[in-house]
Symmetry: C2
DNA sequence: ACAACTACTTGATCTGACGTAGTACGACAG
DNA sequence: CTGTCGTACTACGTCAGATCAAGTAGTTGT
C-alpha cells in the first residue's frame, strides 16, 4: 500500500482522470481509483470529498443532483472545459516531476 | 519551476541522495539539489533544515560540527546505515508511485 | 432484526512547506 | 572602514491539505 504522503499533490489528478469520460459521483470515483491503482492505494473518503469540493470551487468541475429512483441521492460531478485543461496541465507537471525526481533515484547497490 | 506541492513527499529523498557519497551540510545540499534539478526546483532553506532535523530525529542521519578555519561553523550531516536503507525504501516507493500515477495520466488529445 | 454496503457530511487534529525575519561570519569594492 | 554580497543557519507564525473519529441515511441480503 502506497503511503498517502507520496500521492499528496496528485489527488486532484486522480480524481479528474475519473471524470474524463463521463460525469461520476464520490463513491464511484473512489472505487475507480481503487481499481486503477490495483489495491495499492485507497483514497480516504474525506480526502476525496474535500478534493471534489476544492475542484468545484476552482471551476474544474460542476456538480448536479442525479435522478435517483432508489438509494440515497448522489451528487454527480462533471468536468468543465477548464477542468480538462487543468487535468492536462497536471499531467504535464507530473511528467516534469518524474524527470526531476528520477535524477535523485539510484538503484540499490 | 516545479511547484513545491509536487515535490512534497520527496523532500527527504532529495536530501538523502545528496548525502549518499559523503557527508554534507545545509547550504551545500541545497546547492546540489538546485543543480541536479537544473533550476527547475529550488528547495527553500526552511524546508531543507526542517527536513534534515526530521531525518536526524528518525536516525537516518547524524550531525557533527565541521572544523572550520574560516567562515561560520558548519553542521555536517552523515547518512547512517539506517539512512541508506531508508533511502532505498523511498526510491522503491517512488518507483511504485510512478507506476501508479502513470495509470492516471493520459496524453492530451 | 441486524449487518453490510452504498453515499456522504461535519468537526477536530496534525504534519509539513512556506513567509518573514533575524543572527552571524568573511571577503571584497569603493 | 563601510556597505554589500555570499555563506550558513535559526526562530516563529501561518496555511493548505490529508487524516481521524464520528455520525447520518437509504438499500439489500440473511
Amino acid at each position: 500500500m502506497i503511503s498517502a504522503d507520496f500521492i499528496r499533490g496528485y489527488v486532484d489528478l486522480l480524481v479528474l482522470e475519473s471524470l474524463l469520460d463521463q460525469p461520476s459521483y464520490g463513491y464511484a470515483i473512489s472505487k475507480r481509483i481503487e481499481e486503477l491503482s490495483r489495491g495499492q492505494y485507497e483514497m480516504k473518503e474525506t480526502t476525496l470529498y474535500s478534493a471534489v469540493r476544492r475542484l468545484e470551487k476552482t471551476g474544474a468541475v460542476t456538480s448536479f443532483q442525479g435522478t435517483h429512483s432508489q438509494g440515497r441521492a448522489r451528487t454527480y460531478y462533471r468536468l468543465t472545459e477548464f477542468g480538462r485543461r487543468f487535468y492536462d496541465e497536471k499531467c504535464e507537471e507530473w511528467r516534469q516531476t518524474v524527470a526531476l525526481v528520477g535524477r535523485f533515484v539510484r538503484d540499490p547497490h
